[in-house]
């Protein structure tokens, strides 16, 4: 009996000694879900950081009513380093803020053009935030402005940026979400350069940041616009639409897209892809690297405006050839642009380091120049699987 009493006493004392340790109610914390980093003009405080914090009372009233409050609130502070910015934000944020739910980082274009590389150390080193969050570049504007746009579709702007970008990746394939740890590994790697998706505001309007935007049928919205190419951690060029997509095709990051090709003099057809696989190889011929891309595309004809007999396999073979030519042209163009910028965003250097480590070891310092003068070779293979629910187009009489 005495041992039980003793154990009970020890348990009671332990509880009193530890107290309530990290006990924090949900309505005592401010949850930061998005971070935007811009360049500040002062040299004392080079960073202007915007934090997007959840406003719970705005949520409980219903985000579509737009009555008492909006679901998020943005707070902007300037500081010398990112961690200092986080601490400085406490002068404006009303509750103890935590970064464990941080799910987005947006970097302003100006800052990306000057230098991006030192931004991610705080994230990697910190204990609370995760590094599996996507990073975007705010195109033609500041991250502050971008994070202020509330769309009626998704609850928070952060969510709308992420889901728009995922949708673009799945359906059109011009960008792909890059996560912070991937950014760090690409900055560090000598064989691959960084490329990041860009976000801008579609239909910028005065009240894009207000509840009025939620009640309009054509509101200001987030738009995925282009792919940013980096070199040595600095943004050098933007690629749009088909060029951006070609880059994604070559690096096998496209889940599905629609390829348009001319099927006759004045007609276009559309091939919706069902599966894309690509392999990049860097071969060494006569001491010079040759960058080789293998591209395999499977797709269906989903739209056509030429009157061709699509039930004939020979015709399909011709169309396949057309698509292959188109693809070859586009991808070669994209690789040439990257070569001009001396930025190996595809990872040809990486593949060379795996296949021919000795050559890589000797020449990796000079890879920029070697890459920009390398010969391009490609092997494109397209197979049309079916033509949709119809074989021949209807004839107009």
């Amino acid at each position: 009996m005495k041992t039980y009493l003793l154990l009970l006493w020890i348990a009671a004392i332990c509880l009193c000694v530890s107290g309530c340790s990290n006990y924090r109610e949900l309505n005592q914390i401010g949850v930061i879900i998005g971070m935007g980093i811009d360049q500040n003009d002062s040299s004392e405080q080079p960073y202007k950081v915007t934090y997007q914090v959840i406003n719970p009372s705005g949520l409980s009233q219903g985000s579509s009513s737009g009555g008492q409050g909006l679901p998020v609130i943005n707070y902007t502070v300037t500081a010398k380093t990112l961690v200092e910015a986080l601490k400085r934000a406490s002068v404006v944020i009303p509750r103890e803020h935590i970064t464990s739910h941080l799910s987005l980082i947006v970097v302003g274009e100006k800052l990306a053009r000057s230098d991006l590389s030192s931004l991610f150390d705080a994230l990697d080193r910190g204990k609370q935030a995760r590094t599996s969050i996507p990073v975007f570049i705010a195109r033609d504007g500041t991250a502050e402005k971008l994070l202020g746009v509330i769309e009626p579709f998704e609850v928070t702007p952060v969510k709308s940026i992420i889901s728009t970008s995922q949708n673009a990746q799945k359906v059109y394939g011009i960008v792909s979400n890059v996560q912070a740890y991937e950014v760090i590994s690409m900055l560090v790697s000598e064989g691959k350069d960084l490329s990041l998706p860009g976000i801008s505001i579609n239909k910028p309007s005065q009240n894009g940041e207000e509840a009025g935007n939620l009640e309009s049928t054509s509101p200001s919205a987030m738009q995925v616009k282009g792919l940013a190419i980096f070199r040595n951690g600095k943004l050098v060029r933007w690629l749009d639409d088909e060029e951006a997509r070609s880059i994604q095709l070559a690096t096998s990051k496209v889940k599905g897209t629609a390829l348009v090709f001319p099927c006759s003099i004045n007609g276009n057809s559309t091939l919706t892809t069902t599966g894309i696989k690509s392999k990049i190889k860097t071969k060494i011929r006569h001491g010079q690297p040759v960058i080789h891309t293998d591209l395999n595309v499977m797709g269906e004809i989903t739209e056509t405006s030429c009157r061709k007999d699509l039930s004939n396999p020979k015709v399909l073979k011709e169309l396949e050839k057309e698509v292959e030519n188109e693809l070859q042209k586009e991808v070669t163009k994209a690789i040439t642009i990257a070569q001009k910028e001396k930025s190996d965003i595809f990872g040809f250097g990486d593949s060379l380091s795996r296949t021919n480590p000795s050559y890589w070891g000797q020449h990796k310092q000079n890879w920029e120049n070697l890459f920009s003068s390398a010969k391009i070779s490609m092997n494109v293979n397209v197979s049309i699987v079916n033509t949709g629910m119809r074989t021949n187009p209807y004839e107009v009489n």
Binding site: Y4, L15, V31, I33, I54, S57, S60, H101, V155, K159
Partner: protein, 500 residues
């Protein structure tokens, strides 16, 4: 003004110890003495019959009204007795009467005793005693009959498919239900009486050769050591004979179903039947048994496996749901996914109480509702249950006392209680739930982990009659895994027991 005495002075009672004295010769005196000892109890009924030819040939038939079967007394005792008295017109000695009485009485069991103690206990258990004038011998005929329930459906452990009879309060009925299912000569039934005032009959049934002899002996020893006034329910026995007296976990299984008892007997366990309660104890019992329902064997083995895993899951859910919720929203917010976080924050914004107060209040409210539900009169039951659900659920959330998430979590942990077939293990889960909630409020998930460690250490150290409580998980027995978490099909499970 009249003063009212709260307690009257108790009258001095004269107590004469009669039990050591033998019976009187005179029938009247014996009966007078009996009535005296029983305090002139109004249900003692007796009849004195005498021979029409001889005044000294007298017999008295004594029984307790209600405990003894009137029909048997009338047909098998009174009729032959009076018949014989009418026909015997010769002068006979007391010795001859004694010999003849045992011939004429047509009861199935007739014993002849000589002392007062036997007389008293015979009358008190419902037998009929025949006294003879001039003789010190008494004749005890077995006329026990107790008004008891008919065999109906079990109230607590019902099944969809399977036998639907249950034990009753009568020991003899219960043993007969078991005997009807096991018609083997190796089935043993040992009896004893426990309780100095109630003299409750206890039956111990086991299959000779299947059951471990040492455990049988151990049980009998422990039963003999019980010294109480009365045994009202099998729980009295359970708390006295279990191995560890301070644990909340049940160490003996109790069941109302004969088929469950028979299944356990066939596996080599021992059943303890107590007069006065339909709940039969089964010893020894291990942890995984409380998750087995007899219906597991009456349905398809895949479904039964799924349901068994579900039951284990519900046991842990009912212990941990509230505690883990509390730990996540107060200490480990980083573990909550983003969309859930957003919705939880919206809900908690309007609630004035800290999370721990909310959860403890809701849990207590549910326990109160449960207790009230047991005792509610059937007439107002449905009305109050609707009101209770509405008040606790809807109105509390809308008034802003509790958040909707807490109502759901408490409801989940309460409902998962009811999936378990045995109430005794469910009570253990309920007890630990509150401790876990308090600890998680202090030190979050780390505290839950520590408490879980304590609970597991405790369970693993328990033994039920020498058998480790957590087997077949803890001393891992590979062959026994066929019937714990999942149930393999019956052909691979059942084997014919050779008599060891």
């Amino acid at each position: 003004m009249r003063q009212r005495h709260l307690l009257r002075e108790s009258k001095e009672k004269k107590t004469i110890n009669y039990s050591v004295t033998p019976l009187y010769d005179d029938v009247n005196k014996n009966i007078e003495r009996l009535l005296n000892e029983l305090g002139n109890s109004s249900d003692v009924s007796f009849r004195i019959v005498e021979s029409p030819y001889q005044k000294t040939v007298k017999a008295a038939v004594v029984h307790l009204d209600g405990l003894a079967d009137e029909n048997i007394i009338n047909e098998n005792i009174m009729t032959p007795l009076i018949q014989w008295l009418k026909e015997s017109n010769q002068v006979v000695t007391v010795k001859e009467i004694e010999e003849q009485i045992s011939q004429i009485l047509t009861v199935s069991q007739l014993t002849i005793k000589e002392n007062w103690h036997e007389f008293m206990s015979a009358v008190l258990t419902g037998d009929t005693v025949i006294l003879l004038n001039g003789s010190s011998k008494i004749f005890i005929g077995n006329t026990k009959k107790l008004q008891s329930r008919a065999v109906t459906e079990p109230t607590s452990q019902t099944v969809v498919r399977g036998p639907k009879d249950s034990f009753t309060e009568n020991l003899r009925t219960n043993t007969s239900l078991i005997r009807a299912r096991i018609q083997d000569s190796n089935l043993r039934l040992d009896s004893m009486k426990i309780g100095s005032v109630t003299q409750t009959d206890i039956g111990i049934m086991y299959i000779q050769g299947n059951a471990d002899e040492r455990i049988v002996e151990e049980i009998k020893e422990r039963l003999k050591e019980i010294k109480v006034d009365g045994v009202l329910e099998s729980n009295y026995i359970e708390e006295f004979i279990r191995d560890d007296r301070t644990t909340i976990f049940p160490l003996l299984l109790n069941t109302e179903r004969p088929d469950a008892v028979v299944g356990n007997l066939l596996e080599g366990r021992i059943a303890i039947i107590v007069q006065g309660t339909p709940f039969v104890l089964i010893a020894p019992a291990i942890f995984s048994q409380f998750f087995q329902s007899p219906e597991d064997y009456y349905q398809n083995d895949y479904i039964s496996s799924f349901l068994r895993i579900l039951r284990f899951g519900s046991f842990f859910l009912s212990m941990y749901a509230s505690a883990i919720y509390l730990a996540l929203i107060t200490h480990h917010q980083g573990l909550i996914p983003n969309t859930l976080m957003v919705s939880l924050m919206a809900q908690r914004e309007r609630v004035p109480f800290p999370a721990i107060v909310e959860i403890v209040v809701m849990e207590l409210a549910f326990e109160m509702l449960r207790e009230a539900g047991i005792r509610m009169p059937r007439a107002i039951g449905p009305a109050v249950s609707i009101v209770g659900a509405l008040i606790l659920g809807q109105a509390a959330v809308e008034a802003g006392f509790v958040s909707a998430a807490v109502v759901i979590i408490v409801a989940i942990s309460a409902i998962s209680n009811f999936t378990l077939p045995s109430t005794s293990i469910v009570n253990a889960a309920r007890g630990f739930r509150f401790i876990l909630i308090l600890i998680s409020a202090f030190i979050g998930l780390y505290g839950i982990l520590l408490m879980t460690l304590c609970i597991w250490l405790h369970i693993s150290s328990l033994r039920s009659f020498g058998i480790p409580y957590f087997s077949p998980f803890a001393p891992f027995d590979f062959k026994e895994q066929k019937d714990t978490l999942v149930r393999f099909s019956l052909p691979s499970l059942l084997k014919k027991h050779q008599n060891k």
